[in-house]
């Protein structure tokens, strides 16, 4: 498994400069755009804190989602259908779980890197109210894994990449919009509230917000963690099943 991870890290070495740079630039632009632009309209803040401070933890979790899904779509589908890298790995003395887990760990590391960059920028803008904010990183890793595992399963199932846009339209975009990143979930109609509760992102947003603002989460912490762990477990089992179907004919 670690040999597989090592392979992805060697591969990442080629692009890490550009990748790290964009990890910083995206949050920086977001900060300026939302904080200075939108923030100026939301006078009085949200739930007693400035809008930017309220939104930042949501964006950290949402960045984790974007990066984790991005790294689990084309790269996974391509490793089956285009450059057939997984088949090369399967011919070596690796097991299917090694191939799957090695790639997943790499995705989690990429997720952590982007979230850490965002957290650093957020700190520089003085939007973090508590040292608990450091906990946004393990939360980002957990939500990253919670979305990466089912996305791995999905990407391992399809053979045409146009199906990936379905995933974005019906998964990633609604999740990003209705999970309390930009406005409180409480202000949504009941149906959309359930979108927030069912998808993993809101659970991470609520935890992250509690961490950076130094307050208690809206839901029980253990409940959030267990629900995200459930996504990880179910997603991993589905991914392993699809990987076996493709690699062991």
């Amino acid at each position: 498994m670690f040999y597989v991870l090592e392979y992805y890290l060697i591969n990442y070495r080629r692009v890490w400069r550009g990748s790290v740079l964009s990890s910083f630039i995206l949050p920086l632009l977001t900060m300026l755009g939302f904080g200075v632009g939108v923030g100026a309209y939301v006078t009085g803040g949200v739930e007693g804190v400035p809008y930017l401070d309220w939104m930042v933890p949501g964006l950290i979790a949402s960045t984790a989602l974007q990066v984790a899904v991005g790294e689990s779509t084309w790269p996974v589908m391509g490793a089956f259908s285009w450059d057939r890298l997984y088949y090369a790995q399967a011919a070596a003395p690796l097991r299917v779980t090694d191939i799957l887990d090695g790639h997943l760990i790499f995705v989690v590391l990429r997720t952590l890197l982007s979230s850490a960059a965002f957290l650093a920028i957020a700190a520089a803008f003085g939007t973090l109210h508590s040292w608990w904010a450091l906990l946004t990183l393990p939360i980002a890793a957990l939500v990253g894994l919670a979305v990466a595992t089912p996305t791995f399963a999905y990407s391992a199932t399809i053979t045409v990449d146009s199906y990936l846009s379905i995933l974005y339209r019906f998964g990633v975009i609604p999740m990003s919009l209705f999970s309390g990143v930009f406005f409180p979930v409480e202000s949504l109609p009941v149906l959309f509230k359930w979108v927030a509760y069912v998808f993993p992102l809101w659970h991470a947003v609520d935890l992250s917000r509690a961490a950076t603002l130094g307050v208690a989460p809206a839901w029980s912490t253990a409940g959030h963690l267990l629900y995200l762990a459930l996504w990880v477990a179910a997603g991993w089992l589905l991914a392993l099943r699809q990987f076996r179907r493709r690699l062991v004919l």
């Binding site: 597989v4 591969n11 399967a90 070596a92 003395p93 097991r95």
Partner: protein, 306 residues
């Protein structure tokens, strides 16, 4: 010890049988071939031997082990060159070898040294630090072969090693594989090219429809299933069929193909004289020695490449 031992080996996919009860034994140092047209079950057999596809039935032992229970252990001692290249196009030529070596748990230093040796062997040293993407098809195939050797395997599996390459690139690949064979490496390959089988294989099986229809050395197969020479006649007509009856009695057998007629004979020139004696004037006449292609035609009534 027999390296590969199969008895009644079967591979079935939903509703269709790809490999239908084959018996195979491969001995150390042999170059063993599976010859047959597309869909004969060669690649399915190779995947079972490569321990990435569990057999549906029968018995299979690789290096004395069970491929289903001891897959990783067996794969550690195999080298696999797949039909479709699956190199990492973004990495350099050398990195493709060193990262792959790591999957076998080979220490980095050893991997680097071995990569250099192998690049020299497949004549890619000058391209060691270039990306894989711009390499020609023949270079990519040679790199895939080098990658298959990175763990110093006891058996090298080659699935259609020269399909899709131009003649010059094919000869270069054959020459390298021949060198490997001389070094005592056991080669197992599939091909639908009879010239490839004749060049490389000490022994081969002819497969058709998932079954083995003949087995032996290329020479022995030709001696047994074909005549010494073949006369190819092309008549300038819509159909070759009407001319076949006029050739009755010449040679041992007449085979009518859509574009030509094959006469199986001992002495080609005598047969040609006899054809001309019957006042037949084919547009094209070619006398050649029998090949594995003729063996396949005799056994199945079909050509290998269609």
């Amino acid at each position: 010890m027999t390296l590969i031992h199969a008895r009644g080996l079967v591979k079935r996919f939903e509703g269709f049988t790809a490999v239908d009860g084959i018996d195979v034994d491969v001995q150390p140092g042999e170059a063993f071939g599976f010859l047959g047209p597309n869909g004969a079950g060669k690649s399915s057999t190779m995947r079972m031997i490569g321990c990435v596809s569990p057999p549906t039935g029968g018995e299979l032992r690789i290096l004395g082990m069970d491929p289903v229970r001891e897959g990783p252990k067996i794969r550690a001692r195999l080298g696999v060159c797949p039909q479709l290249d699956n190199l990492d196009l973004e990495l350099t030529v050398r990195e493709n070898l060193t990262t792959y070596a790591r999957f076998f748990g080979i220490p980095r230093k050893v991997a680097r040294a071995r990569a250099d040796e192998l690049l020299d062997f497949v004549q890619l040293t000058e391209r060691a630090d270039s990306k894989v993407e711009p390499l020609s098809g023949g270079m990519k195939r040679r790199l895939t072969i080098a990658r298959a050797l990175v763990n110093e395997p006891e058996i090298v599996l080659l699935d259609e090693p020269t399909t899709g390459l131009d003649p010059q690139a094919r000869h270069l690949v054959w020459e390298r594989l021949f060198r490997l064979k001389q070094q005592g490496v056991t080669l197992v390959l599939t091909t639908h090219y009879m010239d490839e089988a004749e060049q490389l294989c000490d022994r081969l099986v002819v497969m058709d429809g998932g079954k083995i229809v003949a087995e032996g050395s290329p020479r022995a197969l030709i001696d047994r299933y074909s005549t010494r020479e073949v006369v190819e006649l092309r008549f300038a007509a819509e159909s070759q069929e009407p001319f076949a009856s006029k050739l009755d009695g010449i040679g041992e057998r007449v085979e009518v193909l859509p574009d030509r007629i094959l006469l199986y004979v001992e002495h080609g020139d005598e047969a040609v004289a006899e054809v001309q004696g019957r006042a037949l004037s084919p547009a094209g006449v070619l006398v050649r020695r029998s090949s594995l292609e003729d063996v396949f035609l005799t056994l199945t009534g079909r050509t290998l490449v269609d």
